[in-house]
Symmetry: C2
């Protein structure tokens, strides 16, 4: 078995720059040394509670300083974190915990209502219980193997159940390296994290903090006032955003300007609307558009601001260690300017899906990840992403997969057939809506169906509108023709 050993990231960081501030959270700030000491203590409590190296544990925690400490405590003792989206329903959580063979679930006390839905073999430990537990002297992993699993995050695909994306220590490390070689790295850098740390966009900021020795400011959630205030007060130089957040910042700024030291607005989570980019140019906001996904441990393609108008709408070029291609079909490269499937390669790309050799073989071939996203390369090699996987809906930075919602709808006794698409929405970019064919003799209301979904799906996945049809448009192979559903909406040919 090959291995690539490196010093334990947090331990090494605390050794190199013990007194530098690691995190600002509300009125608190802690140095890297304090972060290590507190993670070390929690590591001792975890081992006292029976956590063993190589275990998988669910992590259902909010953006909070304690969460950072717990996540690094897990890394100190080689526990793999299955990081759970806080917005999921108990049914969804339970499914992911079972699938990942997690032995434990670490969770906020305020989420403890989910415990009842969990398998009885799963040991649920609230944050309070953890912090009050007895500490043993922990056995620290002095070295981490870059090939070892650090975290797992679930994503749904076009078909079937969500899959656990494996993120190794190496994936996170190389993602940090690629980002630094692109954005540069300065001692005064300070990265504001208002995106969820249960997403790779947020979690990757934590990893960069420890790998670079960089201060971060952590917010519980995005608040435009606090964001602008902390950019000033904490001298923030970099921030990760999705379009909806950036729109609100631009609106709130009005005639104001961001301070000069603010050097990078890293914009991910789907294509950005043109008027927003133009407004940012006008306000001299240095927007770096990016393309990335859970499978690439954050950004893999980035556009620097110098190109933000000349290459408007482009996601840029692949980071130094990474490569991209566009294929018309497997093994056939698309010519310049011609759209095809985007495939990516690099040491930041996932080694595969947890316990899913078939799904892995299907998506990762010869080191290349088939993203399912559609795009093209221009004559200078800039990537233009036309469509995230044909049917993916991105709502306020959250990925929503129609297939998952359709499966829930079909489980309703009144539903004979169901289809879901995303439609434009001013506040969220997109929201899901559904089309339903009723069973004969049944007549469910929109509210009844939404209520049914609410019990099984995170709120942001619940269709905002239900349209009733006689039949759904399907091709000969019975594949749902989502484009036709979209036309129905655009042409106003459906009603609630």
């Amino acid at each position: 078995m090959q291995s690539e050993l490196m010093p334990n990231f947090l331990k090494k960081r605390a050794f190199l720059t013990p007194d530098r501030v690691a995190i600002y959270f509300n009125d608190e700030s802690i140095t890297f040394k304090e972060l290590y000491n507190r993670s070390f203590e929690i590591a001792g409590k975890l081992q006292g509670l029976g956590f063993r190296q190589g275990d998988f544990t669910g992590v259902l925690l909010r953006n909070h300083l304690d969460t950072v400490i717990i996540l690094f405590a897990l890394q100190l003792i080689g526990i793999r974190a299955v990081i759970l989206n806080n917005r999921l329903t108990p049914t969804e959580l339970s499914w992911q915990l079972n699938d990942s063979k997690a032995r434990f679930l670490l969770l906020e006390p305020s989420f403890s209502n989910v415990i009842d839905s969990m398998d009885s073999s799963l040991k649920c430990i609230t944050k309070d219980q953890l912090f009050k537990a007895t500490m043993v002297h922990p056995m620290i992993q002095e070295e981490v193997d870059l090939l070892d699993i650090c975290t797992v995050m679930y994503t749904s695909g076009t078909t079937g159940n969500p899959k656990g994306v494996i993120q190794t220590y190496g994936n996170h490390w190389w993602s940090s390296v690629g980002s630094a070689f692109n954005l540069g790295l300065m001692e005064q850098d300070c990265w504001l994290c208002t995106v969820p740390i249960f997403h790779i966009s947020g979690f990757s900021i934590l990893m960069r903090s420890v790998i670079y020795g960089m201060t971060i400011v952590l917010h519980e959630s995005f608040d435009v006032e606090r964001t602008l205030q902390d950019i000033e007060e904490k001298k923030v130089t970099i921030m990760s955003v999705v379009s909806t957040m950036l729109t609100r910042m631009v609106d709130r700024l009005g005639e104001q300007r961001l301070p000069e030291y603010f050097r990078c607005m890293l914009l991910g989570g789907g294509p950005a609307p043109l008027p927003l980019l133009e407004a940012c140019v006008e306000k001299a906001i240095p927007v770096f558009q990016t393309y990335g996904m859970t499978e690439t441990a954050s950004q893999i393609v980035t556009l620097s601001p110098e190109y933000s108008l000349a290459k408007l709408g482009s996601a840029g070029k692949p980071l130094f260690p990474a490569q991209i291609k566009v294929e018309l079909e497997e093994g056939v490269l698309a010519p310049e300017g011609k759209a095809g499937e985007i495939i990516v390669k690099g040491p930041n790309v996932t080694t595969g899906y947890l316990y899913r050799p078939d799904a892995t073989a299907n998506k990762v071939k010869n080191g290349w990840l088939y993203t399912g996203d559609i795009g093209y390369l221009d004559s200078e090699g800039f990537l233009f992403v036309l469509d995230r996987r044909a049917d993916l809906i991105i709502s306020g930075g959250e990925n929503i997969y129609p297939a998952e919602i359709e499966a829930v709808l079909l489980a309703h006794p009144s539903v004979a057939d169901a289809g879901v698409i995303g439609i434009e929405d001013e506040a969220w970019g997109q929201v899901p809506v559904s089309f339903i064919v009723k069973n004969i003799g049944m007549n469910p209301s929109q509210e009844e169906i939404q209520q049914f979904c609410m019990e099984k799906l995170a709120k942001y996945k619940v269709p905002k509108q239900i349209f009733f049809l006689e039949s759904l448009p399907r091709n000969a192979a019975k594949k749902l023709l989502r484009r036709e559903l979209r036309e129905l909406v655009n042409e106003g040919r459906v009603e609630r």
Copy 2:
């Protein structure tokens, strides 16, 4: 066979930032795109001349823009460069070329006098011949394997012949990463290279340039006036120096100060004298002391300026990906403050010596390189290097191994026994001197012996003084007691 593929460094760099200046050399400057195009052309000429992927070639070239182009041309087509010290004698060069099984020697026309001394099977090609050769369309290595050999540089050890240190693409890559995570990386960075690119100190600057997309200023050799002038004119931010260079800069600066944007004076090549460090603090020169060697692909331990007085004389802490320990004997760690052998580990550390599995096994154990250098770690983990391998002489940044000179002296018909040590020298830090026992009835002069050495050794290795003794101090095992030789000199008990 495992592999770790990355995009070809120069090709990727030219793709990412084509128009950024790569190198200033004399009155010329070329962008990364031009550097790629010119290296591509030379790659085509090399393949036309019969160079094949995996070949070893000697490279005997000065600090020059052409040399950079040739070195990267070799990387484009997977040729391994045995980089030769320009100061070596034909005998020394021939030995290294044979040992490395080089098929070719690329050399300056001005060095062509060495060709006669070469094995007839070696194909010698001057730079002029290369540039005039016919170009074929080259087969570029689109990807490089981090585990593959990029360069070989010879070092001598305490015993026997020089050994070829393998430096993989990964060694250079990780060295660049470790350095960037320590020093930071800014778009306006510009690194001045006045040290030889046939040493790792200079060559590593070329690699960083391409990996970071950083401009470098290349000088043919160190000249204090041009150095200070270019720091101003080219807005140099970082420079690599050895003590003798820094001393001359400090003297020349007088009351002047370096510009504010100059942010890092990377000081390597042996321990720095205290008065020099104090002078730099007074003049606000940001000195980063470092410890490194050919086997670590440049610095592996670095001290930031904030500690330069508090930890005066320390080489600092190991770079993020690297680790160090001090051992009293194999497997036994030295306690805090106690001196022992420095051992180092990390992805920048050589995989071994070319064709020398025994020497490799002897020096690299379980991933740890036994440096032979003596030092200790203080309570905060700062490394203090007390002595480069007991007998190593560092003269103006060049490593000199007494054993190599002794072997030459012993080959002289009048010499019965010989010992070499380094003595302090104001201009060079150290210079070699030798102690000789004459054969009975023989009476060679100092000049005769120096002349003999001059034919076989690079000039900087020729003993500056020859002391004649009745016998050399040796212990029971006949090991030469260099310390006693040093005492003879210090106490004035020897004469020429």
